[in-house]
Amino acid sequence: MSALAYPDHITATYYLVLAAILFTIGAVGLLVRKNTLVMFMCIELMLNAANLTFVSFANALNDISGQVIVFFTLVVAAAEVAVGLAIIVAIFRRRQSVNADDVDLLKG
């Protein structure tokens, strides 16, 4: 852990550790929440943490591909949110609920 003690120059490790912590918080939220909208927000948190990792590597390695891939990730996340919210609205129209625990028709 000596890399984290009193730096004169900030290193990529700080950004990577921040991204890891955000990813973990998002994963925990996905596990403990049962409202599907909030679960979606936690997925966005995890995607955002992955984007932060891509950008910090793009900077540390001086490679432009990291930024391009972040651009693609953003587009895929936007598509995912559009389809996911449409599915949630369709489920709500049928069952009057957005709780993940209520969608249990396939449960044995």
Partner: protein, 163 residues
């Protein structure tokens, strides 16, 4: 470099608190607003890393479009906004174990592997370089992702249509 360290620390703390707010708040609208804090903090970190193109794309796409979509979703599903309706399930202890495991592995691996990489903020990336990279090296993925977005939007309309 002290100023950069301080700014990074402040933004990182705001992002972590916002993320905890998303996971802990009892109000769905508040969760969306905490998510705005995290996304804006991410954009600020991108600018701190000298990568302004993705920072502004983040502001436009995430804060501008995705959050508005979330607010529409909250509105259309009449999500619970009172503290009496719980948003959590009973997976608290498995989640705690998973989080400790995940954060231990991720932080340990990242610190152990990449502790020598410096972040070079003296050399911001020009947006022209990013766009020319998108339209030369990554032109095929760019077109594919455009078709994906079109398909996703048509699919969302078909799914959400009242029939």
């Amino acid at each position: 470099m002290i100023a950069e360290n301080v700014v990074f620390g402040i933004i990182a703390a705001a992002m972590a608190l916002g993320a905890i707010g998303v996971v802990r708040t009892k109000n769905v609208v508040h969760a969306a607003l905490y998510l705005v804090v995290v996304l804006a903090g991410g954009a600020a970190q991108f600018i701190l890393l000298g990568q302004e193109f993705v920072a502004w794309v983040q502001v436009l796409v995430y804060i501008g479009a995705v959050i508005v979509l979330f607010l529409f979703g909250i509105m259309l599903t009449r999500a619970p906004m009172h503290p009496k309706d719980s948003l959590d399930n009973d997976l608290r202890w498995p989640a705690a174990v998973t989080s400790l495991f995940l954060v231990g592995i991720l932080v340990g691996l990242l610190v152990h592997t990449f502790h020598a990489d410096k972040v070079d903020v003296q050399r911001p990336v020009r947006t022209a370089d990013v766009t020319s990279s998108i339209f030369t090296t990554y032109i095929v993925p760019f077109e594919v992702v455009g078709v994906l977005l079109l398909g996703a939007l048509i699919g969302a309309v078909v799914l959400a249509r009242k029939d």
